[in-house]
C-alpha cells in the first residue's frame, strides 16, 4: 500500500473555479423548456384553520397554469410536516402554491385568492404554554411525552416560586441522573456551589442560498434540482415524501450555498414544485425561495430556557451538575438539542454526579432542526460563563478549572458511561493556551483604557465526530483515471473532495488522475452519509479507504490473473498495478480497466459484494462494464464513540459607554484527529467560531408575542455576522494526532467550533464586565450597556424568548 501523500496536504478543490467565476450552477440557476414559476401563499396567522378558499379569480388570471392545495398533497400524521396545510401551525407555513408563467403572475394571482382563516389559540413562549390555562400550540397538546404530544401544565405555585426573573421548574417529561448518590451527594461534597438561570435563543439557520427547488417529470421519472446538504440521502428522502422508489428520482444538487443543518435531507417544501409539475402535466416548475420564506420554513435552532447548579471542590473538580432545560421545539418535530447539550456538558466537565431534566414544548414558531452544533452550540455558551463564575469564587484560573474537569482518552462519561475512540482535549487546551499566551493575557482581564475594558475568555466545546458503515464506489475507466463516486453533499465544507482522497491515497494515485463524481444521482452515486453532524469526514474517509482497499485487491487479483503470480506479489501506485520491486511492470490503470471490462464478473461490476446498500448496488450495476469497478461497505471497527474537541480563546475590548465590543484576537485549537486538509480545516474552524460569535452577539429572530408574527424576515434584521464583524486576528491549530478507529486518523470538525466561539466571546464579555452575568443572548450592545448600567439586568428579563 502506498504511503499517504494526499491526506494532510492542501489542495485546490475541484469546484473552486466554477464557484469563484460564477459558473457553478445552484438550484436557482437551472432552466428547462417551458418552465413555470411558483409562488406560495403563506399563513399570516401563527395557528389557524383554513375555513374556505376561493380560487376562481386566481385560476382565471391569465398565465396561471395550476394551483396546488393542501388537499392534494400527502398529509402524514403529526409530527411529520405536510408541504402544504390547512391547519397552519406557524406564521409563514405554506398553504397553497400557484404555478404561473412567471413569478409576477403567480404573485398577482395569490392576491386574487379569497381565503378565510379561523384563528386558533397559539403559544409563542414555552413557559407561557406551561402555565395553568396557558395556550397550547397544537390541538393535541403543548409538549412531547415521548413520541406523542400531550399536555403539560405546571401548578401556579411553580411560577410563583420562581419569581419574575427566575426559572420556573415544574415536573419534566425526561430525566436522568448518574453518579454515586446522585447530585445530592455531589453537592454535599462541594465547597463552592453556583446556580444560574440560563438561556439560549432560537434563530433561523440562514444559509446564504435558500431552499430553492426546480422539478419536472419525464417518462415517469422525477427530475429535481435543489439545494441540499446531502445528495444520496436527500434523494431517498424526496422519494419517501412522494411515496415512490428512489430509483425513479433523478436528483441534482451539485452546489449548495450552505445549510448549517437546515438542509440535511432537503426540505419538505421541495416536493411542492414536484407535485405542481405533475399537476401541470410535467411542465418544469421553479420555486425560488425568498429570504422571507427561508425565515418562515427554512428551519431554526431550538431555544432553551433553563437553570443550572454546579458544585465544585476546592481543587476545582466538579462534583455535581444539575441541569434543567425547557426546549422550544417549534411547531413540529421534537428536537434533541437539550439532551445533546446535557451529553456535551457531561463530556466537557465530566462531573462526578449529574442530573438532567428536560421538557420539550411545542410553540407556534417555525419548525426547528439541527443547527450546526445542535445542543452543543447552546450548551457550551450557556454553561461556560457559569463555570467562570465558579472559578472566580474558587480563586482559580479559568483554564485550570477546565483542565481539571476536561476529559482524557481514558474518560468514561455521561449516563451511558461512554467510552471515547480518542481524546486529545488536554493537548488542545494546552496548545491553545500557549498560542494565545493565556497566562499573560488573562492577567489583562479588567484593564481599563478610557471607556474600554479588556476581557479575556475561553470556552471548551465538543461534538460527536462521525458515523461509520457507509459505502464507497470507485471506477477505473479505460482513460486511466480513478473515478471516486461520492453521495455526500457539496455544501462548502470540501468534505466531498477531501474524503475522496482517502481512496486515492490507498491506491497511490496522483490527485490529477482522479475525478470526483458527485452532485447528481444520474452519475450513479453510492449510499453515503448525510453531510451533517460532523460525521462526513470520519464516515467517508473510512468508506473511501475501504473501497480503496477493495479496489487495491481487485487490481492485485486482476494482475495476477492477467500476468501470473500471486495477487500479493503485486502492488498498486502511480496509476499502475505492478510487480513489487518493479514499478514499471504490470498494468496501467487504463489497461486494467480494459481487462476488467473484458473479464466481467466482479471486475466489471457485474458481480458485487453482498453487504453493500441497495443504492450502491444500483449505481454500480448501472456503471457495470465501464471499467474496473469496486464497491465496498465500511466494516472497520468502531467500538467507541467518536468525539472532537475545540478550545477557543478570545480577547475582547468592551466599550462600557456604548456596549459595543471588538474582538481583538481569537485562537482556536482543535482535536479532530489527523488533519485531512489543513487550509480547509482552518477555514471551517475559524468560520465556525465566527458563526458562533455572531450567534452570541447579533444573530437572532424576533416574533411579536401578541400576533405571533415574525419581525426579522430579512438578513438585515436577523443580523448573522458579516465578515467585517470578525476578529482582526485569527489563529488556528490542530492537535493533529490520529484517531485510532479511523484508517486515516480523521474525526469530524464542523460542529464544535460554534459553541467554542460563542462561549469564548460570552466569557470574555462577562470577564470585561467584572463577572456580571447577563444570561441572555444575543449579547448585543443594548444588553451589554444595560448589564453594565443596571448590575446585570436586561430590559426584557433573562428568560424572554424571541425578543
Amino acid at each position: 500500500m502506498a504511503e499517504s501523500n494526499l491526506i494532510g496536504q492542501d489542495i485546490v478543490s475541484r469546484d473552486l473555479v466554477a464557484k469563484i467565476t460564477g459558473r457553478a450552477k445552484y438550484a436557482e440557476d437551472y432552466r428547462a423548456e417551458g418552465m413555470l414559476f411558483t409562488k406560495l401563499l403563506l399563513s399570516p396567522l401563527p395557528h389557524a384553520r383554513v375555513v374556505s378558499i376561493d380560487l376562481s379569480a386566481a385560476l382565471a388570471h391569465p398565465g396561471v397554469i395550476a394551483i396546488l392545495t393542501a388537499d392534494e398533497v400527502p398529509q402524514d400524521e403529526f409530527p411529520f410536516e405536510p408541504c402544504l396545510t390547512n391547519e397552519p401551525r406557524y406564521e409563514g407555513e405554506p398553504i397553497l402554491a400557484v404555478a404561473a408563467v412567471d413569478e409576477m403572475t403567480a404573485a398577482d394571482a395569490i392576491e386574487l385568492i379569497r381565503i378565510e382563516f379561523e384563528p386558533l389559540p397559539f403559544a409563542i413562549d414555552p413557559l407561557d404554554s406551561l402555565r395553568p390555562g396557558g395556550p397550547n400550540a397544537t390541538l393535541m397538546g403543548n409538549a412531547y411525552l415521548g413520541r406523542e404530544v400531550g399536555e403539560v401544565k405546571w401548578e401556579q405555585s411553580v411560577f410563583d416560586a420562581a419569581g419574575p426573573d427566575g426559572m420556573p421548574m415544574g415536573p419534566t417529561e425526561d430525566e436522568w441522573e448518574f453518579g454515586e448518590g446522585g447530585v445530592e451527594a455531589g453537592f454535599a461534597k462541594a465547597d463552592v456551589i453556583v446556580e444560574e438561570v440560563i438561556y439560549s435563543h432560537s434563530a433561523t439557520h440562514h444559509p446564504l442560498e435558500s431552499r430553492t427547488a426546480m422539478s419536472y417529470w419525464q417518462n415517469g421519472k422525477l427530475y429535481i434540482h435543489c439545494s441540499v446538504q446531502s445528495v444520496a440521502q436527500s434523494r431517498r428522502a424526496i422519494a419517501d415524501r412522494l411515496g415512490m422508489p428512489f430509483e425513479d428520482v433523478v436528483f441534482v444538487s451539485e452546489f449548495c450555498g450552505g445549510g448549517f443543518g437546515s438542509k440535511i435531507r432537503g426540505s419538505v417544501t421541495e416536493i411542492i414544485p414536484s407535485l405542481l409539475s405533475k399537476k401541470a402535466g410535467g411542465r418544469p416548475v421553479m420555486m425560488r425561495v425568498t429570504r422571507n420564506e427561508e425565515t418562515a420554513f427554512g428551519r431554526a435552532r431550538p431555544g432553551m430556557q433553563g437553570w443550572v447548579k454546579m458544585g465544585f471542590r476546592r481543587d476545582g473538580r466538579m462534583t455535581a451538575m444539575d441541569l434543567y432545560l425547557v426546549q422550544d421545539t417549534g411547531s413540529y418535530a421534537r428536537q434533541g438539542d437539550t439532551s445533546t447539550a446535557a451529553d456535551c456538558a457531561s463530556l466537557i466537565y465530566t462531573p462526578e454526579t449529574m442530573r438532567f431534566r428536560t421538557v420539550t414544548v411545542l410553540t407556534n414558531t417555525p419548525p426547528r432542526a439541527a443547527q450546526r452544533g445542535p445542543g452543543g452550540a447552546q450548551g457550551v455558551p450557556m454553561l461556560e460563563p457559569v463555570v467562570d463564575r465558579a472559578a472566580r469564587q474558587l480563586g482559580m484560573d479559568r483554564l485550570e478549572i477546565r483542565r481539571v474537569n476536561g476529559p482524557t482518552a481514558a474518560t468514561r462519561f455521561g449516563r451511558g458511561n461512554t467510552q471515547l475512540t480518542s481524546c486529545y482535549a488536554p493537548e488542545a487546551l494546552s496548545r491553545g493556551a500557549e498560542m494565545f499566551n493565556w497566562s499573560e493575557r488573562s492577567a489583562r482581564s479588567g484593564q481599563r483604557n478610557g471607556s474600554k475594558v479588556t476581557g479575556v475568555g475561553l470556552a471548551f466545546s465538543t461534538y460527536y465526530g462521525g458515523t461509520s458503515g457507509w459505502d464507497g464506489l470507485l471506477v477505473i475507466r479505460p482513460d486511466g483515471k480513478l473515478y471516486i463516486h461520492q453521495g455526500v453533499g457539496n455544501l462548502g465544507t470540501h468534505a466531498v473532495m477531501d474524503t475522496a482522497r482517502a481512496a486515492a491515497d490507498v491506491l497511490g494515485s496522483d490527485w490529477e488522475d482522479c475525478e470526483v463524481v458527485w452532485g447528481s444521482s444520474s452519475l450513479h452515486l453510492p449510499h453515503s452519509s448525510t453531510s451533517s453532524g460532523s460525521q462526513t469526514t470520519h464516515a467517508h474517509t473510512r468508506a473511501n479507504h475501504a473501497v480503496g482497499m477493495a479496489m487495491y485487491g481487485l487490481l492485485q487479483e486482476l494482475a495476477s490473473l492477467e500476468l501470473g503470480g500471486s495477487p500479493s506479489s503485486y502492488a498498486v501506485g502511480n496509476g499502475r498495478v505492478y510487480r513489487i520491486g518493479s514499478p514499471g511492470s504490470g498494468l496501467t490503470f487504463a489497461q486494467a480497466a480494459q481487462r476488467a471490462i473484458t473479464r466481467g464478473g466482479k471486475f466489471s461490476g457485474a458481480v458485487l459484494p453482498d453487504d453493500i446498500n441497495e443504492m450502491t448496488r444500483n449505481s454500480a450495476t448501472a456503471l457495470a462494464g465501464q471499467g474496473l469497478i469496486a464497491a465496498a461497505k465500511d466494516t472497520y471497527p468502531h467500538t467507541a464513540r467518536t468525539y472532537s474537541f475545540v478550545a477557543t480563546f478570545a480577547e475582547v475590548e468592551v466599550d462600557v459607554e456604548t456596549g459595543m465590543h471588538r474582538v481583538v484576537e481569537v485562537t482556536t485549537v482543535a482535536d479532530c484527529g489527523t488533519v485531512v486538509h489543513p487550509r480547509s480545516l482552518a477555514a471551517q474552524a475559524n468560520a465556525g467560531v465566527i458563526q458562533g460569535m455572531g450567534f452570541a452577539r447579533s444573530h437572532k429572530w424576533s416574533i411579536d408575542p401578541t400576533w405571533g408574527v415574525h419581525l426579522t424576515k430579512r438578513l438585515e434584521a436577523a443580523k448573522p455576522p458579516t465578515i467585517l464583524d470578525g476578529p482582526t486576528q485569527y489563529h488556528f491549530a490542530a492537535v493533529d494526532l490520529p484517531d485510532p478507529q479511523n484508517p486515516v486518523g480523521a474525526k469530524g470538525i464542523g460542529e464544535p467550533p460554534v459553541g467554542a466561539g460563542s462561549g469564548a466571546l460570552l466569557c470574555a464579555i462577562e470577564d470585561a464586565l467584572g463577572g456580571l452575568y447577563g444570561s441572555h443572548t444575543p449579547m448585543s450592545p443594548d444588553k451589554v450597556l444595560s448589564i453594565y448600567e443596571n448590575e446585570g439586568r436586561v430590559a426584557s428579563g433573562r428568560l424572554a424568548i424571541h425578543v
Partner: protein, 333 residues
C-alpha cells in the same frame, strides 16, 4: 398588508433627463408615483408589496444630480451622489469630515455604492412593524404596534414620539444638520432652500412623512456652508454589527473652539426619534465652556432630559448620554 411578498409588482418606469420633467411626471401620476434614487429603500417597499405604486420616476438619468461642486461659500452635493463617493470626496473628507465619516458608516460597502445621499436623508423611518406592512398610524391606520406593553421596541424612539415611535435611521442626516446644511428642493414653482434642521418632520406634525418634501417636489442637492468647515467634528454610530446595520443611536457634532472654550456647537443625535434631534439646549449650555469632562457630563445629562423609554429601549438613554459626552470630548474616551 400584502398576502404575498418578494415579488415586484408591475409599474411604469420613467427615466427623465431633467428635474422639471421629473416633477411633471410625479404630478401627472399623482399619489401613485414615487421617486427612485438609489432604490435601497424603495425597492424593499415595492418588492414586499407593502407600498403600491403605478409609476417610478428614476432620477438616475438627470445630469448634474451626481456632482459635487465646491462653491464660493461651501460645497454642494447632488442628491444622487452615491454615499461611497461622499465618504471618499477629498473636500468633504478635509473640510466636513463628520459627513464623510457618517456616509462611510452607512450600511455596507455595496449599499454605499448604490445608495445616494438624497436617498439616505429621505429614507422612511425604521420600524419593523411599519415595514412589515402593518396598518399602523404611519401607514394610515390608528394604532402603534411598537408601543404596547408587549411590543418589541428595542430600536425605537425615546424622544419626540407622538403615537408613532419609529426612528430615523439615517447616518448622514445628523451630520448634515450639524453642518447647518441647506436642502435644495425643486418644486413646480421654483427652488426652495430649507435648513436641514427644519427639513425633517416628527410624527407630532406629520405622522406619515419624514420630511417637509411634498409630493411632486424633488430634493436636488444639499449645500453645506463654510460655517463649520474645519471645525472639531465627531461622528459615532452604535449598532449591533460593524457593517450592514442601522444605528441603535448615532451622534454627529461640530464644535468650534475659541481660546480654549466652546465658541459654538452643533450636536445632533440620530435614531432616538423619527427625525435627527438637534440638541439646542445642550448647544446653549456648553457655549463658552471648556470642552472638558465636566461640560461633557452636564451636556450628557441635559441631552436625555425628557427622554421617555419604551419597554425595551431604556438603554438608549445612557447610550445617548454617553455619545453626547463623547461628542463634546471629541473622542471616544
Amino acid at each position: 398588508m400584502a398576502i404575498v411578498h418578494d415579488v415586484m409588482p408591475a409599474y411604469e418606469l420613467f427615466q427623465p433627463t431633467d428635474v422639471e420633467s421629473a416633477i411633471t411626471l410625479l404630478r401627472e401620476h399623482g399619489d401613485g408615483a414615487r421617486i427612485l434614487g438609489g432604490g435601497m429603500d424603495t425597492w424593499d417597499w415595492l418588492k414586499d408589496r407593502n407600498k403600491r405604486i403605478t409609476a417610478l420616476v428614476d432620477l438616475g438619468g438627470i445630469p448634474g444630480l451626481q456632482d459635487i461642486k465646491v462653491t464660493a461659500d461651501g460645497i454642494e452635493i447632488g442628491a444622487m451622489v452615491p454615499l461611497s463617493v461622499v465618504a471618499r470626496n477629498a473636500d468633504v473628507v478635509n473640510s466636513y469630515t463628520v459627513l464623510a465619516r457618517a456616509a462611510g458608516r452607512v450600511a455596507s460597502p455595496q449599499i454605499r455604492n448604490q445608495g445616494t445621499i438624497g436617498g439616505n436623508v429621505n429614507q422612511d423611518v425604521r420600524c419593523w412593524y411599519y415595514r412589515s406592512g402593518w396598518p399602523c398610524y404611519r401607514a394610515g391606520g390608528n394604532i402603534c404596534y411598537a408601543n404596547t406593553p408587549q411590543s418589541l421596541n428595542r430600536e425605537h424612539a425615546i424622544l419626540d414620539a407622538n403615537r408613532c415611535v419609529a426612528v430615523s435611521p439615517s447616518d448622514t442626516a445628523p451630520a448634515l444638520v450639524a453642518l447647518d446644511a441647506k436642502m435644495i428642493v425643486q418644486t413646480r414653482r421654483g427652488v426652495r432652500e430649507i435648513n436641514a434642521a427644519d427639513y425633517f418632520l416628527g410624527p407630532a406634525t406629520d405622522i406619515r412623512r419624514t420630511t417637509v418634501l411634498k409630493h411632486g417636489e424633488v430634493l436636488t442637492s444639499i449645500r453645506i456652508p463654510k460655517t463649520w468647515s474645519g471645525a472639531q467634528f465627531y461622528f459615532e454610530k452604535v449598532a449591533d454589527r460593524k457593517s450592514w446595520d442601522f444605528p441603535l443611536v448615532n451622534v454627529a457634532s461640530a464644535i468650534r473652539m475659541e481660546g480654549g472654550s466652546i465658541a459654538d456647537a452643533r450636536i445632533v443625535v440620530g435614531a432616538v426619534a423619527a427625525r435627527p434631534m438637534r440638541l439646542r439646549k445642550v448647544e446653549d449650555a456648553i457655549r463658552g465652556k471648556a470642552a472638558d469632562e465636566a461640560t461633557a457630563a452636564v451636556a450628557g445629562e441635559l441631552a436625555v432630559r425628557g427622554a421617555v423609554p419604551l419597554r425595551l429601549n431604556g438603554y438608549k438613554v445612557p447610550l445617548m448620554r454617553n455619545l453626547v459626552k463623547r461628542a463634546i470630548r471629541g473622542q471616544e474616551a
